[in-house]
Amino acid sequence: MTDTVSAALDERFRAAAAAEGLLDVAYDVLPDTPIGSLLVGVTDHGVCRISFDAEPERHLEELARLHGSRVLRSSKPVDRVRLELDEYFTGTRQRFEVEPDVRFLPAFNQRILAELARVEYGTTTTYGALAEQSGNRGAARAVGTVMNRNPVPIVLGCHRVIGANGNLTGYAGGLERKVQLLQLEGALL
């Protein structure tokens, strides 16, 4: 049918919307990373979402509520995160330059995530240690909740946080992915 929106026309609009700075969130799906499909969302302030659940429909409402209603799939704004993730997965990048945008989180979560950001590639820490370092001694369980709700896993490496007894404990993306990421970093054999 001549009246359907062609892929070229569609992409042209999506690119123009981003180029004119009209988006609150631009997102895209990275269909085949070594740990499966990822949905990546970015704002003007950095990367605001990385999700192992790559179905956009399950994110749009929440992204709009948190960041503004102008949420649109647009590939160009996501290019930098795409490239850095690609380098991370091939082992050539150990530190992300793209900023995480976590302004919308409660101050408590932000403080703990800031502490998490200091945990180096290829190392692990524990929930208890992270609690203590962020001035919340004894709040290991709360730290676990913050990790579970980390909006930008991988970029903020919550996979590097494990139980005090050496158990891997849990991961929002599934334990299998946590193992995979720790193996990639050489923190786990």
């Binding site: 001549t2 009246d3 359907t4 929106v5 026309l9 569609d10 042209r12 609009f13 123009a16 919307a17 004119e20 009209l22 988006l23 956009p56 749009l60 409402e61 992204l63 709009a64 509520r65 503004g68 209603s69 102008r70 949420v71 649109l72 799939r73």
Partner: protein, 152 residues
């Protein structure tokens, strides 16, 4: 975010086909493609100012009609159309209607402009407004009555 306003992605996906069809009928496919982008960019600029998510179809088609009008005006100055326009896509009625109908409630305005400016049938207008043929007819006639009263 105001209540009931969908994320732009959902709004765009729902209305893009209809908007392109609307524009293609008025401008031809080639010009419609530029107008399509302009329509949704304009919608994107205005989107944060929306107060509710009602009548988004009518809203975006109204934006599309304004883009058509701009395009027609631009081409009119470019090619200096003769006094009596013969070009199929030119709608002098719309040019008169646009400023005249500014004071109408949005739904009545959309119905009047789509009916008398663009010769759309009430069934099409009903679809555009997300209601029925009967409701579109009613909105258009209420709009006309209101205009008569205002301009009496």
């Amino acid at each position: 975010m105001a209540a009931g306003i969908p994320p732009f992605e959902a709004f765009y996906e729902e209305h893009r086909t209809e908007v392109l069809r609307f524009l293609s009928r008025r401008l031809g496919r080639n010009r419609a493609e530029d107008a399509f982008q302009d329509t949704f960019l304009r919608a994107l600029r205005a989107y944060p100012r929306l107060e509710h998510g009602d009548h988004l179809r009518a809203w975006v088609l109204t934006i599309a009609s304004r883009i058509v009008l701009d395009d027609v005006r631009k081409r009119k100055t470019e090619v200096e159309l003769p006094e009596v326009p013969t070009e199929e896509n030119w709608h002098p009625a719309f040019e008169e209607l646009a400023p005249l109908t500014e004071g109408l409630p949005p739904k009545e305005r959309a119905a009047v402009v789509l009916r008398y400016g663009y010769d759309l049938g009430y069934d099409e207008i009903g679809t555009a407004l997300g209601s029925t043929e009967a409701a579109a007819r009613q909105a258009a006639s209420a709009g006309v009555r209101r205009l008569r009263k205002e301009n009496a």
